[in-house]
């Protein structure tokens, strides 16, 4: 779409106009979010953990993760050399925690992107098209909502070869349904609005209406739900890792807990090995939930002022 020159003035294109409008809406939302003290505190916590994950190579040497060249004595309690003690190989638990944050956050993010993609697509297509395809998609969504997720994740993960992508995919498959339901309900109300009808009357294709009108209007809800979903995905990764279904080749907070469980840290009371990963997960999950709730209040007018 090229802008046309008329009498020396540059007429903004439709796309540019909507971009300006969205920018304004975003800034207004951000101002409203910034006033939320709990949400902002949680956001700072998240920024800290993301920074640790990104800066991991600077904070702890990757060689500290090697089982073969570990310097410490196995299961030694916290000391000045090892602030969080060591594991069964004599590796620094702090180094494991720093590097593990990468995988935990990465799997949380990947799984969430997957769940959001499936959930939004199913919700938008079902809600917008209606009729038989909606009934079918709705039935599938309800099936995934009813089936207990841990047994489902177990049969899926056990059937596929283990790895980061597999674990993310399994979490995405077991957790997209609630998003689909949420998005579908929102689409049902958006598609009745005037601008959708007008766009159709002007000859817009269904694809255009879905991606340019419906999606932007349900996007804020999807975004708030995404942040909440990351919390769920990180918890799910932990649970699957504890059951031995994690990626055997990478270290996450979940696999550290699994290591503590499998290597007898419980029996000898190696609390420095067991406590840090669980506390880190709880803090990050709580922070994601609080940010998600605050976002929800910003973008969801019905919740405002409660």
């Amino acid at each position: 779409m090229e802008s046309e020159h008329t009498t020396g003035l540059v007429a903004p294109t439709a796309r540019k106009l909507s971009r300006i409008r969205r920018r304004k809406a975003f800034l207004a939302s951000w101002r409203s979010f910034r006033r939320d003290r709990i949400g902002m505190t949680a956001l700072v916590v998240l920024v800290f953990f993301v920074a640790v994950a990104l800066l991991a190579p600077l904070l702890a040497d990757a060689s500290e993760l090697s089982e073969a060249t570990a310097q410490g004595r196995p299961f030694s309690p916290p000391s000045s050399r090892y602030p969080l003690g060591t594991d069964e190989f004599g590796r620094s638990v702090l180094a494991l925690m720093i590097w593990g944050s990468r995988i935990s956050l990465l799997v949380g993010l990947l799984a969430t992107v997957g769940a959001m993609t499936i959930g939004s697509t199913v919700g938008i297509v079902g809600g917008y098209t209606g009729g038989a395809s909606d009934s079918l998609l709705n039935a599938v969504t309800n099936w995934f909502l009813v089936i207990p997720w841990i047994p489902l994740a177990i049969v899926l993960a056990a059937s596929l070869s283990p790895g980061l992508v597999t674990i993310s995919l399994v979490i995405a498959i077991t957790s997209w349904a609630s998003t689909a339901r949420l998005v579908r309900a929102q689409v049902l109300s958006v598609k009745e609005r005037m601008f959708v009808e007008r766009s159709r009357a002007l000859g817009a294709e269904h694809w255009h209406v879905m991606t340019r009108h419906i999606l932007p209007n349900v996007f804020p809800i999807i975004l708030a739900n995404t942040v909440l979903m990351i919390a769920v995905a990180i918890l799910s990764e932990t649970t699957l890792a504890i059951l031995g279904l994690g990626d055997p080749n990478s270290i996450s907070w979940g696999t550290i807990i699994q290591g503590a469980f499998a290597q007898g840290a419980i029996t000898i009371g190696a609390w420095w090995y067991l406590l840090p990963p669980g506390i880190a997960i709880a803090v990050v999950v709580l922070a994601f939930m609080l940010v998600g709730n605050s976002l929800d209040e910003v973008v969801n007018p019905r919740l405002r002022g409660r």
Binding site: V146, W149, P151, L274, L286
Partner: protein
């Protein structure tokens, strides 16, 4: 309650269970590197042994030709033999299902009752120290992975303090009568506590928010004006109306507790279905995994059906 509601809900539940059966069927056969090939490779079986194994599990024929036989054997509860023990899966499950029912039953009742009470008192005394405390605790419990919580309980009360046993469901096989019951209960405390704590938070949170929605309603003022005591306003008028909208939500979360039991049983070596599943993961014991999945899903579906029927009986607005 109309016959239509019962019939429709029941048909829906049956269809959902059938879909689980189909899902199991295709998962076992369509996923690349089918289990038989994997086992054959792992155990170094000859080609003939491999084919015999494939025939045993009925996967030597074209996929769709296997379907009728598969459904027939599933309906007759014939899940084949466990790869691990070689015994019939039905037998393995039969020995354990009661123990899981005990653990899940105690934990479900515990977390619902405690969660709802916390939610009710929190909402009723909104903003009080009790409310803040119980909401903070609930949020924290909700954020903590259930497996880690179990391990912490096991380490503190089992290993360090030695108050409770560190696993299993009984000390020796010789106990009988009262001694046997107390012994099992003693073993039950930690796993049941872990499972209850892991799910109590969500009930407290939804109960509190549902009761807060109701508390501004005028019929509560009417009740007060009639001279109903404050205590009865809460329990006879506010709570029943706050529970109804979250009734199905409460019962639907049964599925989470059943799933959580897999983790908790694995950590406490509680010899139930979850522990069986955990061991089957490590040994790639697909007949056991699939039967356990079918059984847990079906029980959740049936539980939800019961909740739906009970709800349509309780709520006069849908009782038709």
């Amino acid at each position: 309650m109309g016959r239509g509601v019962v019939l429709r809900s029941t048909l829906h539940a049956v269809a959902t269970i059938l879909f689980v059966v189909l899902f199991n069927f295709f998962l076992f056969r369509v996923v690349p590197g089918d289990p038989v090939t994997r086992i054959a490779r792992a155990e170094g079986l000859s080609l003939e042994q491999r084919d015999a194994l494939a025939a045993e599990y009925g996967i030597d024929k074209p996929v769709l030709a296997q379907l009728p036989g598969y459904i027939a054997s599933t309906l007759t509860l014939d899940f084949g033999n466990s790869f691990g023990s070689g015994r019939p899966v039905t037998q393995e499950i039969g020995e354990r299902v009661g123990k899981t029912a005990l653990l899940v039953g105690v934990s479900t009742v515990g977390s619902i009752v405690i969660g709802l009470l916390l939610g009710v008192y929190g909402a009723w005394k909104r903003g009080s120290a009790f409310d803040t405390g119980s909401m903070t605790t609930s949020l924290l419990l909700y954020s903590v992975p259930e497996g880690w919580l179990s391990l912490v309980l096991l380490m503190v009360f089992g290993s360090m303090l030695g108050i409770f046993p560190i696993g299993g469901y009984r000390s020796t096989s010789t106990l009988t009568g009262i001694a046997y019951v107390t012994d099992v209960l003693n073993h039950l405390v930690l796993p049941a506590l872990a499972l209850t704590l892991a799910y109590v938070g969500q009930y407290a949170i939804i109960m509190r928010s549902s009761l807060l929605d109701v508390m501004g309603e005028e019929y509560l003022d009417v009740a007060r004006a009639k001279g109903v005591r404050e205590e009865n306003v809460l329990w006879r008028h506010a709570v029943p109306n706050a529970v109804l909208p979250i009734f199905t939500l409460i019962f639907y979360s049964f599925g989470y507790i059943v799933g959580g039991a897999v983790v908790v049983e694995s950590i406490f070596s509680w010899p139930g279905l979850g522990n069986l599943t955990y061991k089957a993961i490590a040994s790639q014991d697909f007949p056991v995994l699939q039967a356990a999945f079918l059984l847990t899903s079906s029980s959740v579906i049936i539980f939800n059906l019961a909740a739906d029927l009970l709800y349509s009986y309780l709520d006069p607005r849908v009782r038709r």
